[in-house]
């Protein structure tokens, strides 16, 4: 047992320092493409760290959203940037020297070191044992409608936060559309191998998504993870040139984007009227309500992430500047 603990500690140390080292290389390397690749690697190592910290739900979210979709967004933006920016085109990916004067750089560094020291001191002053809210969560878990505590917190105990969270997602797509115009996906690469790969993978992804959604009630998983897998399946289909949706004006797609937040609001209003408190589910029906919310949220999250990816691929429409 002792030996296992030692190995685990060694692994933790290696993982922690790798994370820091990767972040350092990512942020201070002169090659943007390399930075993005390092970012994705960083995200995957973060996912391992979440597993080590007994947070498998966060690990799933990190791997799919943090590393996967953010990575896809960054790659797609970088490809676009390269067509816009000549300095990036010329093979040797660029970087202008740091703009700061050497002295300013050292001042910034000194400030960072001091801040790190202060924060580290504060962290180390925390008690080594603290129950947090774990007792409260565990004692109320039975009346939450689900047996997986993370899902209970997200969808029941702190469901109001998740409602606002869905509003943030809706805002993000509204924002990207209003900034970038609303045209369809741009360039498409097809290849027979990619097509076969996608034909095989997309049903599997959809199945995995449904599984994660279902399993979220009693094990790691849930709407955010399921939604991001669904979004990933969509991204693959779009990349292979499938005319998935006409994202431009589709009423259906708007409905899918709104479904999750709308379900939350409808249920909040319903419970406000019936129970007197927003998102207070009657214990007997809590499981059904949560499953309904999660299903619609999964659809919305998947569609939003896909639409963010497609939106970031599009050319910006020259905006009307008559007021400026």
């Amino acid at each position: 047992m002792e030996a296992v603990g030692l190995w685990q500690s060694a692994f933790d140390l290696m993982l922690g320092f790798s994370l820091f080292g990767l972040a350092w290389r990512m942020l201070f390397c002169a090659d943007l493409f390399k930075s993005i690749v390092l970012f994705i690697t960083f995200g995957l190592l973060m996912a391992i760290a979440w597993v080590r910290l007994e947070a498998p739900d966060v690990a799933l979210a990190e791997a799919t959203i943090g590393a996967g979709l953010t990575g896809a967004l960054l790659m797609s933006a970088f490809a676009k940037l390269r067509t816009l920016d000549n300095s990036l085109k010329s093979g040797q990916p660029l970087l202008p020297r740091p703009r700061l004067h050497v002295i300013n750089f050292w001042i910034a560094l000194l400030f960072t070191v001091l801040l790190t020291g202060g924060l580290a001191y504060a962290v180390l002053s925390l008690p080594s044992h603290s129950p947090g809210l774990s007792d409260a969560v565990m004692s109320q878990l039975d009346s939450s409608g689900v047996t997986h505590p993370v899902t209970a917190v997200l969808l029941n105990f702190r469901g109001y936060d998740t409602l606002l969270e869905m509003a943030v997602l809706l805002l993000s797509i509204q924002s990207v559309w209003s900034m970038a115009g609303m045209s369809d996906a741009g360039e498409v690469h097809t290849s027979p191998v990619l097509n076969v790969l996608i034909q095989l993978l997309s049903p599997v992804l959809i199945l995995v998504s449904a599984y994660l959604l279902w399993v979220g009630a009693h094990a790691p998983g849930g709407a955010f993870q399921a939604g991001s897998i669904l979004g990933a399946a969509g991204v693959l289909l779009v990349l292979s040139g499938r005319p998935l949706f006409n994202l431009k004006k589709s009423w259906l797609i708007r409905l899918m984007l709104v479904a999750g937040p709308a379900a939350f609001i409808a249920l909040a209003t319903l419970t406000l009227i019936n129970e007197g408190q927003l998102l207070k589910y009657p214990v007997a029906n809590a499981a059904n309500y949560i499953l309904l919310l999660e299903t619609l949220a999964t659809v919305s999250i998947g569609t939003t992430l896909l639409a963010l990816f497609v939106g970031s691929q599009t050319e910006a429409v020259q905006q009307d500047q008559s007021h400026q």
Partner: protein, 99 residues
């Protein structure tokens, strides 16, 4: 220590060896194509050994089945993506390594 445990240890060590070899190949081989070769071959076999080693320890057939499924998916994705990378490199005129 059961026979199954010993088998698992051997398989896991074997898997780790293949991962190590693949990683060294990735770092030391001279061009994109040879690196891909090192990576996919080694990773696929290495993961296969690790999955087999873990499947022996699995509590149920379903868990073992999931592990095998993961391996199959990685095989599929690895093969597909390697082809795409190699194809992309070829299309961009990345030269072959010559001794």
């Amino acid at each position: 220590m059961m026979l199954a445990d010993i088998l698992t240890i051997i398989l896991l060590l074997g898997g780790a060896f293949f991962f190590l070899a693949g990683t060294i190949g990735l770092l030391r081989f001279p061009d994109v194509y040879t690196r891909l070769h090192a990576l996919t071959k080694a990773d696929n076999v290495g993961l296969g050994l690790i999955v087999t080693g873990l499947a022996i320890q699995a509590q149920s057939w379903a868990a073992a089945g999931k592990l095998i499924l993961i391996w199959l998916l990685v095989l599929l994705a690895g093969a597909g993506v390697s082809y795409l990378i190699a194809n992309g490199a070829l299309a961009r005129g990345v030269a072959f390594w010559k001794r």
